[in-house]
């Protein structure tokens, strides 16, 4: 079948129980570019880009592009010759593609024709010609210890100057460099430089077995462990033709929603703290602590690491545990409601939140933004909820998820969406716990040599995408985990434009993006 009336690429639905995905191959770079233009015209977005070195099997390189559209996700492949691995620049159409393309070049050595050729993940001592994801890359060479020479965009003019911030910050947070161009306190431009958390996680997947891959993927960005593990499991199950039992799916959703609530609670407290309202932080942290302690009690891990595995889940819960979850939801709701009233009625806090860090709906779509930040601009995009032409994967299809949206697009909107999502997740948790199907919790997927699959899960931050390719022996050949932060980091650069320097930490916290998830 065809999408966006584009005749060049023929799509076939991906088998499996996960989110709706269609796979297709672009016959040429021109066709890919043409299709991307059609997607853009049709209101779609770029979801992920990565590359694979297939030269071992004699096929050159392979480029993967995932586009998001109303019915689901379109996974487009493009074969590239081994001697000239180039493809058309998509960043002209989708600004968010810029960093993904540069990372693909740094990691695999397949580059765009024209466009931004600055390195992204490749810092200082990393030699320019060494691509770690090529199968003949070998062990990392000795890296010279030298500073990064990175070409920041410079602004001139009367009184304009730069404030470099990070990668080492005054607090204990992840490292990232922010280059502000300012006049006085007014932000003229923000340019980010990430990659300080690069740890070669994609390389570690190569040759690993499925279970090892599940462990690794859950650690790409620890705050979204469940979302990654589920997306990976979806991809593997699709690649191997395995179908997890209904009880496993319900338990996965249970854990994913608990992860969402835990993160929202922590961030809502941190948002208060960043406006010097430390009272909010201590109250929310107490609630979050109660929450993750029950995680430890019921599932055996505070942050639910390694609970979701290909084929199902690694833990089963008994009726008493489900009852404890229902009771905790009942206790949590009034507590969060009281704190929401406190936040909503606090004049000083609202003065900091309202109109700060605004991005409007058009900009959110232009930047291919997904998840909580997109919904806070009024974009009705939630992989768990029904929308026109889209049916969410089980068990969400039967739950009737009500997506939380807000039109304002500012910090206050992101706070409001987080609150709404907490309440909605509490409702879903009760539905899931009460209606938990009986039966098996796991099937063992048999690795299918040469199989491939894609998984998309609506994590708390946005859509987490994991692409999996198996080699001839049924081991992992290539796994690409894609964090929603790729798109949202770019949105943050725009969100801060109308604001002043001291408002940046608050705006940043309202997104609370992952460094680890994009530094890979």
């Amino acid at each position: 079948m065809h999408f966006f009336d584009d005749p060049h690429i023929d799509f076939a639905p991906q088998p499996g129980q996960g989110a709706p995905i269609w796979c297709g191959e672009a016959p040429s770079g021109f066709a890919l570019r043409h299709f991307a233009e059609s997607v853009r015209r049709g209101g779609g977005r770029i979801a992920a880009i990565w590359g694979t070195d297939c030269r071992r099997t004699g096929e050159g390189f392979h480029l993967h592009c995932v586009f998001g559209c109303d019915p689901g996700h379109l996974w487009v492949g493009l074969d590239l010759p081994a001697d000239a691995p180039h493809y058309p620049d998509l960043a002209e159409l989708f600004a968010a593609a810029n960093r993904m393309q540069r990372t693909t070049r740094d990691m695999v050595g397949i580059a765009t024709e024209g466009g931004d050729q600055r390195p992204w993940l490749r810092h200082g001592g990393w030699p320019a010609g060494w691509y770690p994801l090529r199968h003949d890359a070998g062990d990392p060479p000795e890296f010279a210890n030298r500073p990064t020479d990175y070409d920041f965009v410079k602004l001139g003019g009367e009184g304009a100057h730069e404030i470099p911030v990070g990668p080492i910050h005054a607090g204990i947070i992840e490292p990232g460099h922010f280059r502000f161009s300012v006049v006085g306190e007014r932000v003229l431009k923000l340019e980010q430089r990430l990659g300080y958390q690069h740890k070669g996680v994609e390389r570690l997947f190569g040759g690993a077995d499925l279970a090892r891959g599940a462990q690794l993927v859950g650690r790409v960005s620890g705050d979204s462990s469940c979302a990654y593990a589920w997306a990976y499991a979806d991809a593997v199950e699709s690649a191997c033709g395995a179908a997890p039992p209904p009880r496993a799916l319900a338990l996965r959703a249970l854990m994913l929603e608990r992860e969402r609530v835990a993160n929202h609670l922590g961030d809502l407290g941190a948002l208060g703290n960043d406006a010097a309202f430390a009272f909010g932080l201590t109250q929310f942290l107490r609630l979050k602590e109660d929450w993750v302690r029950l995680n430890a009690k019921v599932f055996g891990h505070r942050f639910l690491f390694d609970r979701i595995v290909p084929g199902g889940v690694a833990v089963d819960v008994d009726a008493a545990a489900l009852n404890a979850i229902v009771e905790q939801c009942a206790a949590m709701e009034p507590a969060v409601k009281a704190l929401r009233a406190l936040y909503d009625e606090h004049a000083g806090l609202q003065d900091r939140f309202v109109t700060t860090g605004t991005i409007d709906r058009d900009l959110a779509q232009e930047l291919s933004l997904s998840g909580m930040a997109a919904r806070a601009t009024g974009v009705l995009l939630d992989g768990r909820a029904h929308r026109q032409g889209y049916t969410p994967p089980p068990p969400y299809a039967a739950l009737g998820v009500r997506p939380a949206t807000d039109e304002r697009g500012d910090v206050a909107a992101r706070v409001a969406v987080r609150f709404d999502e907490v309440f909605e997740s509490l409702r879903l948790l009760r539905l899931l716990a009460v209606g938990m199907p009986a039966g098996e919790t796991r099937v063992e997927p048999a690795p299918l040599p040469g199989g491939r699959g894609l998984g998309v899960i609506e994590g708390w931050r946005g859509e987490v995408i994991v692409g999996v390719e198996l080699d001839g022996e049924g081991r992992l050949a290539r796994v690409h985990p894609h964090d929603p932060s790729w798109q949202a980091w770019l949105a943050l650069e725009f969100a801060v434009l109308k604001d002043i320097v001291p408002d940046f930490p608050l705006i940043n916290k309202s997104f609370n993006l992952s460094y680890s998830g994009v530094d890979l």
């Binding site: 005054a170 607090g171 306190e185 960043d274 010097a276 430390a278 001291p502």
Partner: protein, 318 residues
């Protein structure tokens, strides 16, 4: 005329300031933790901190000039002098003629200029950022503080702090409505000058939002210890000033040695209550946008002017 008891009282007041100031900071920190339903850090934490910092080596930035090294001593000296001028225990202060209320504003101003210059000296963007924000707050806070002092000076017919305090404390009880305006204005100014919520956040780790902390980011070792100590002395000086001006009861007059001794527990009690109230203000408020600070301090200035007008129009029938 310098009396022996006056000298004793003066030395005693300075020693007490040096000792009590970190304790006050520790107390405010404790109260804040309790009000946020956290378990509190030890009361003596600031002393441990000073001890630690004095025993650490100083790391100097490459671009640091002698100004950067001298500034902590100058700032510390300014704050000690301020604590010597403010009548904390007794109004018989031999140092007092050296500087009146207006000069006290100047002493604080001098310390501010040096800390801002020191922040800019090493050339990091945060120091400059903090320095210019500090000057923004300072140039708005100073006129408001001066207006408060003018109101009080009109009541006492003198700008000398001991005379003002003696007038307010030891005359027959007269209610001055102007004092209420001046008191609120003084509270606003104190919050801004001491880098407290809602103007600044002393507990923040967000370098982009800092005012006071941004200027001292490059300091370490004994320099940082002196600056931290000076900051707590400043809080102590402002607290004692507020207490002396608006709650002056119990401060020993002239050369009454017994009253001087009796004034100590009363001062500690008043500081404890004041510290608790400060922690309360910091708990219920969020930090305002930096461009709201002019409105906040403008309000303080207007209130101080109102106090002055009330004094001129309603009370001045002498």
């Amino acid at each position: 005329m310098i009396s022996v008891s006056g000298l004793i009282g003066q030395v005693f007041a300075i020693a007490l300031a040096l000792l009590l100031a970190p304790l006050l900071a520790g107390w405010v920190g404790q109260c804040r933790a309790w009000l946020q339903s956290r378990s509190a850090p030890p009361l003596l934490l600031p002393y441990y901190m000073l001890h630690k910092l004095f025993n650490k080596d100083v790391v100097l930035a490459h671009g640091a000039s002698s100004l950067f090294r001298a500034a902590p001593f100058i700032i510390f000296g300014c704050m000690v002098l301020a604590c010597a001028i403010v009548p904390t225990l007794s109004t018989d202060l031999p140092f007092a003629p050296a500087a009146d209320a207006l000069a006290l504003v100047g002493v604080f101003g001098l310390a501010r200029i040096f800390i801002a210059l020191a922040g800019m000296d090493v050339g990091t963007s945060f120091g400059t950022l903090g320095g210019r924000r500090e000057m923004l707050v300072g140039f708005l806070a100073e006129p408001a503080l001066l207006m408060v002092f003018f109101t009080l000076a009109m009541i006492a017919q003198s700008t000398s702090l001991p005379t003002i305090v003696e007038t307010l404390a030891h005359r027959e009880l007269v209610i001055y409505p102007s004092l209420a305006f001046a008191g609120v204005a003084f509270t606003f100014v104190s919050l801004a000058e001491n880098a407290r919520v809602p103007v600044d956040n002393p507990a923040t780790h967000l370098e982009l939002t800092m005012i006071h902390e941004a200027m001292i980011l490059e300091y370490s070792g004994r320099h940082l210890a002196l600056i931290e100590w000076a900051a707590s002395l400043k809080l102590y000086a402002y607290s004692c000033l507020g207490l002396a001006l608006f709650f002056p009861w119990g401060i020993a007059p002239g050369d009454d040695f017994l009253a001087l001794v009796a004034a100590i527990p009363l001062l500690v009690l008043k500081l404890a209550i004041g510290g608790f109230l400060l922690a309360g203000i910091e708990t219920v408020n969020a930090k305002m946008r930096i461009f709201r600070a002019p409105e906040f301090l403008g309000t303080a200035f207007m209130l101080a002017v109102l106090g002055l007008l009330v004094r001129l129009l309603l009370e001045a029938r002498v």
